[in-house]
Chain length 415, copies 2
């Protein structure tokens, strides 16, 4: 069954709001086994909306609209739906009563235009709105069996109506069978094309499970999606394919599904019973902040020092002033002293030192913006990595944080 | 001129990511005087993408696509565009060189499939990508004069390319007349309805300039947009309206246009010639990281200590162990000692102490998740604020960071 989502509302085409209804519906419908192949946005204009619905009805079996069910003159989705399917509109008494009650309960005065919301296309199924005034509508075209579903625009009303009424309707109407399950392998460190190169035999011959690569702010996610008669069978299919591609991606895979890089580092620290402390310069506390995004991180994060000035590097983290004078604040030697200094000062198992030039100023003849040193000190000795990152100041901070967490992850894997 | 936005990418139709490119482009294009009447999303499938582009080209003068310019086999937008307009593809040498250089500069090895990104439709204008590898493309259909513009999918690459290259192209090609200018007053601390109440007379009677309220992760932005024959005239209209509403919003306005809260704090520190240091517990370094998002922040940020453990609070920041024992690590007294301790240790003009319960664990009978104390010590004495924030761990960190920066801003305004 092919579905097209049609989101109505001029505010969407003015860029005033971000469309979160489409991804919500798309994700849920895919899980239920439907194929969402198109999504279209159109404003509150009768002709254009009718044309868009007409096109949608030609290329999909089910069209789900959101928006335009309210009481104002601009709310025309039901009317346009009815007109397209040649159904007259009538006043649905139950809905009118419901709407009146909604206002009474809130001690509000109902204005007459609210009754527009109780006008319905003939023969439609009316869907109660349990957290707003606008009911939803399901209309079937007799000959083709094609269906238009009108849902309200406010995201919480739409979500509630979808879960409570539309999912049961679809399940009953189409006897949903089978289960779709996805698993995401989160990777870091391989470019998109290098990664694709490694698993290309599985990408070009995919059918079920399917494989998709998604670049997500420095990470690349490999999504495996399987469809089978039961959840267990889908899982089995996923396990088989993952068993083949995971070894090809090897240590680049840092997490599964919702396991972030900082979560992965946290789990390794917990399993190794190690604590960590960081001395951050160019990242300004970002790496520590990410580590503390994980609930329970106080079990392994002792603390950090953001040593933005050289004085703090020297006085608080114990980097010898001579090292900074001779090698520079952005150097392998300084990063290593920072890692060692913070480890000793905070008495942790692992110490991390990060120094670099986040830009846009601060570059010198031999040290460009984006040059970063990341050092780790601990049981397995001292290591230091040199990077050249590009992008804005924010990009460089973000890339440095991700690289630093990944270096810590690799370091912990060797312990 | 009618524009249709076509966003490509199966991940959009799976609901895996929210489409932020469409609202960005829609908002900017509307400001420039174009009418965005349709937005369509389609997956990485040749036939469906071609049909969608065909439909778009029939109902719009300009079609702007995003996504599908990368190096993988799923990246087909340029090919489909070329095929629709009957243009053969060729290897664009300059782009190939640029891409090779991109890899060289980052000391990375380029794989062959990256050259797919240098394959271009014949006769197309090639648009440089200044923050990624995939160039953009502008192709005109000779007979109809209709235009397809292919932009990359990553939002920062798309935004950069749009501002740097597409806006000038559109301005030259269509001789944009009149000037649309916007100004954003960024506010913090007033709810949306309270804010609307204060300026409602200007909201209900708007025409030119227009006024829009936009809630953006804890801030509310008031956007004033004016259209006139020249930029100077538009600015004049904006200045007049801002002169009326700014006093009504008063100290809630922390910045204009791109002036973030951390930028505003940085400017105040510079103007007062004061330095700052922070002792962060529940925010884990997030506030310091935000402060260092501002270029040149090393002029006033000396450094910070993330004191996640009580030992670090006591040994490194100088919070007396008795205070923590008697009042708790999350208390006004501890926050104040943190602010004073870090100020003295790092010898700054301003010291900030932040302690709270980010959750989901850590609540006690009298201290719920979301309880946060923010203390400031400096020339104007010691102050401390108690907050009860709600939401997830990430929400609480974010809200605390924003509140802390705003408290520092107010503190600096009194000096």
């Amino acid at each position: 069954m092919i579905i097209e989502l049609v989101n109505t509302g001029t505010e969407l085409l003015l860029g005033q709001i971000v469309n979160t209804n489409a991804p919500f519906l798309a994700a849920r419908l895919n899980e239920l086994g439907f194929s969402v192949l198109y999504q279209t946005t159109v404003g509150d204009n009768r002709d254009r909306m009718k044309n868009v619905l007409q096109t949608a009805l030609e290329r999909a079996n089910i069209v789900i609209t959101s928006g335009g069910l309210g009481p104002t003159q601009g709310d025309i989705t039901k009317e346009v739906t009815a007109s397209l399917l040649n159904k007259p509109m009538y006043l649905h008494e139950d809905s009118a009563t419901q709407i009146q009650r909604f206002f009474d309960e809130r001690r509000l005065c109902m204005t007459n235009n609210n009754l527009r919301q109780a006008m319905m296309p003939e023969g439609a199924q009316i869907i109660k709105n349990t957290c707003g005034t606008a009911p939803g509508v399901i209309v079937e075209e007799e000959n083709s069996g094609k269906i238009i579903i009108n849902l309200p625009g406010p995201p919480h009303e739409l979500a509630e109506m979808f879960e409570k009424s539309i999912v049961p309707y679809l399940a009953e109407r189409f006897g949903l069978q089978g289960a779709i399950v996805s698993r995401v392998l989160r990777t870091y460190g391989l470019g998109e094309s290098a990664l694709e190169e490694r698993i290309k035999q599985y990408i070009s011959n995919q059918s079920n499970p399917t494989l998709a690569l998604l670049a997500r702010s420095g990470e690349i996610h490999v999504r495996i999606t399987a469809r089978a008669a039961s959840k267990a069978e889908s899982m089995q299919l996923i396990n088989e394919l993952e068993g083949k591609i995971h070894p090809l991606l090897d240590e680049y895979v840092f997490g599964i599904d919702e396991e972030t890089m900082e979560k992965s580092v946290g789990n390794l620290l917990l399993s190794r019973k190690l604590t960590i402390a960081l001395a951050e310069s160019c990242t300004g506390g970002l790496v520590t902040s990410r580590i503390t995004d994980v609930p329970g991180s106080s079990q392994y994060l002792v603390g950090s020092i953001v040593c933005y000035s050289n004085a703090v590097k020297t006085l608080q983290v114990g980097v010898p002033a001579e090292i900074i004078a001779a090698k520079g604040a952005v150097s392998q030697e300084t990063a290593e002293c920072m890692a060692q200094g913070i480890k000793e000062k905070f008495q942790t198992g692992i110490g991390v030192g990060i120094t670099g030039i986040a830009g846009p100023d601060g570059a010198t003849a031999d040290k460009p913006v984006g040059l970063v040193y990341i050092a780790i000190d601990g049981l397995a000795g001292k290591v230091c990595y040199e990077h050249y990152f590009n992008g804005t100041r924010a990009d460089i901070k973000h890339r440095t944080a991700l690289a630093a967490l990944n270096h810590v992850r690799h370091y912990l894997l060797t312990i």
